[in-house]
């Protein structure tokens, strides 16, 4: 309780704190501690660093999603290839702190490991959903902090 009071007090002087605590509620598990680490690398000389990273991430992940979709459409499941794409996807999701997306990537890879095509398809659908939601939330977040 005391911490809340202190935060509110501080927030009267520091707009960033308001955005941070609101963001935490809004993001609700979509982002983890790594995102905070990225924000801490931002400064007055590099005020758009996080947004730049996010832009690169969504560009890169769009490419990966498209590759995976093509691979899945072909019908014959090349689990090695799919796992490879997911490894990349998981990697960049980890670096930006996209925790829900990361979880789906992990699950997908497990299904690849045991050769479960149905599981892959199901998980991929969920992954795309989480990914789209994250994208929307981040776009709104960056807009709000300008």
């Amino acid at each position: 309780m005391q911490r809340q009071v202190a935060l509110i007090k501080q927030s009267l002087f520091d707009q960033k704190i308001i955005i941070r605590t609101q963001m935490e509620k809004y993001m609700q598990g979509y982002l983890d501690e790594q995102f905070v680490e990225l924000e801490e690398l931002q400064d007055d000389a590099n005020p758009n660093f996080v947004e730049e990273v996010a832009t690169l991430y969504f560009k890169d992940s769009a490419r990966l999603i498209s590759n995976i979709e093509q691979a899945l459409e072909r019908g014959s499941f090349d689990f090695n290839r799919l796992d490879n794409y997911m490894h990349q996807f998981k990697g960049s999701s980890t670096s930006i702190g996209a925790s829900k997306v990361k979880t789906e990537c992990t699950m997908f890879r497990e299904y690849c490991r045991v050769g479960n095509a149905e599981g892959c398809l199901r998980t991929f659908k969920q992954l795309k959903k989480e990914h789209a939601t994250l994208r929307k939330k981040l776009e709104q977040y960056f807009q709000a902090s300008k």
């Binding site: 790594q34 680490e37 990225l38 801490e40 690398l41 590099n46 660093f49 730049e52 990273v53 690169l56 991430y57 560009k59 890169d60 490894h87 990349q88 998981k90 990697g91 960049s92 980890t94 670096s95 930006i96």
Partner: protein
């Protein structure tokens, strides 16, 4: 008797040519992920390092001039490489660097997101890697690396200076004995 330059008068402190630039560490980083490249570059810049980022082990070798083409006078203080990259892996890059007479002294750090990698850590360290970092890399990790490199540089520098001082003292006493 001719005037002999006493050791204290010799200007030894400015000759750092053999050590390269003592101020900024120059780090070469290799990673095939565009997001990770952006991230590691920022981590290194925030830690006051000069950074060169490449997207593959092959390009890293090109940059170092190890692909056959002799490069200009390059001073790299640290190489950081992702482990799993398409084509040549970070491990293979590590081996090539340790095999090269020009660059084997440069510390190489491997980065990997694989959690089940105890064996990986073992073989990399065995091959001469300086350190192994789990991704996502933390700013604290980078600063720790930088500090240990700067300290090593400082120790090397002090050793060289001390050696020169001893040599200068030695010459001085020889000349004195010869009563020149």
């Amino acid at each position: 008797m001719a005037e002999v330059m006493r050791p204290e008068k010799l200007d030894m402190s400015n000759d750092t040519s053999s050590l390269g630039s003592p101020e900024l560490l120059h780090v070469l980083a290799a990673d095939d992920s565009i997001v990770d490249r952006k991230f590691i570059e920022r981590l290194l810049r925030v830690s006051s390092c000069k950074v060169t980022v490449v997207d593959s082990a092959t390009r890293a070798l090109q940059y170092l001039g190890l692909d056959g083409n002799h490069s200009f006078d390059l001073k790299i203080n640290l190489i950081m490489t992702d482990y799993s990259m398409p084509g040549m892996t970070g491990y293979e890059l590590l081996k090539k660097i340790k095999e090269s007479s020009a660059f084997r002294e440069i510390p190489v750090v491997i980065m990997s997101s694989e959690k089940s990698c105890l064996v990986l850590i073992g073989i990399c360290l065995e091959e001469g890697a300086e350190d192994f970092l789990l991704k996502p890399v933390k700013l604290a990790d980078v600063k720790r690396l930088r500090d240990s490199l700067l300290k090593a540089d400082e120790i090397a520098f002090k050793n060289i200076m001390h050696k020169r001082e001893l040599q200068a003292n030695d010459i001085y006493s020889q000349l004195k004995r010869a009563k020149i």
